[in-house]
Amino acid sequence: MSYLQAFGHYLPERIVTNPDLEQRTGRDASSIEKTSGILERRYAGEGETVADLAFAAANACLRNANLSPQDIGLILVSSGSSERTFPGPASVLARKLGLTATPAIDIPIASAGSLIGLAFAADLAPRYGNVLVVGSEIMSRRISDSDPDTSILFGDGAGAAIVSPEKGFLRIADTAIFTDGNYAEALKLDHNGAIQMKGLDVIIQASRKIPRAIEDLLTKNNLEPADVPVFLMHQANMNLIRKVATALQVPAERFFSNIARYGNTSSASLLIAASEWRAVNPAPLTTPIVLATFGAGFNWGSILLLPA
């Protein structure tokens, strides 16, 4: 059995608005909001690295869990925007935390990475003890102004979670992760390139696969979407979130969203959303919560959380 013990997050200070991007890309600011639901996003400072953002989020998470780095038995870091091919940010994060022998593993998957990290952590926590899961991204350096359809979506940030084998405020009841490599070319970031996205393929597959992943997981656990008052989903696009809500026949208001303020922070977005949601809902929980993500690969999945 594994539990979610705490969340944490970090967002860079620099705010980039839609009018800012209109100047850079020529894309009308109001159309950016209409097509994505995004009003602004954060960009990392010039000297900040993916590991720096991860460290800040990890520290916030450790504070919320009342733990020290020495209490961590395993680190999993998801990022699609690491500055180099190897080593990824996991080992640098471990060093920043003062850990020199704790295993720190990279999950080089973009958007769905942090959910996959949580799913792995749920299985690994009984063996390794507390698992620190981090999603950290600096996507602002991986976009091209010549592709405004894609570049207007992304922002930077990091989110973190502690998965404990002993205690927490939510029990990780079940997980489901999937990959379909037929779409590996539909959303990709080549070495030294910019993110390339075939929006039609991404949206149509996401709008079908996410609801199915959620429904199948709930059915397996004798639940229905109507039984779930809170859904925490990858913050890719507000229109996609509404579409998933419609497919599940639940009000869109059940989907926590901060995409208007941060844009799509790829693998960080799920944990940033979870951290912000938990901060305003600190009371003991009595109802199910569902996490869901979708992204490059395509990789996607869902997690069912139940009261501890």
């Binding site: 929006g199 039609l200 597959q205 709008s207």
Partner: protein, 78 residues
């Protein structure tokens, strides 16, 4: 109702257009469909024609014109 008429009924249900698109008019180039109305079109086609469209068949080019949609639906019936 003919297959084309059924397709047009679904298109009008998911897109705000005053007239029927021409059979070979690109629904994407004309703005009739976009990334967020295409999933609705596919769901509408599944319901209208009582067919199950697998994810692997959800290639945007396949749904670009009324003629292409009709050809695809006919292939699902065969």
């Amino acid at each position: 109702m003919s297959t084309q008429a059924g397709i047009l009924k679904v298109i009008h249900a998911v897109a705000d257009i005053p007239n029927d698109p021409a059979p070979d008019e690109s629904l994407f180039d004309s703005g009739t469909l976009d990334s967020f109305t295409l999933p609705d079109l596919v769901t509408g086609l599944e319901q209208e024609f009582n067919v199950k469209i697998p994810d692997a068949d959800l290639v945007p080019e396949r749904f670009d014109t009324v003629t292409k949609i009709e050809a695809y639906l006919n292939s699902r019936k065969n």
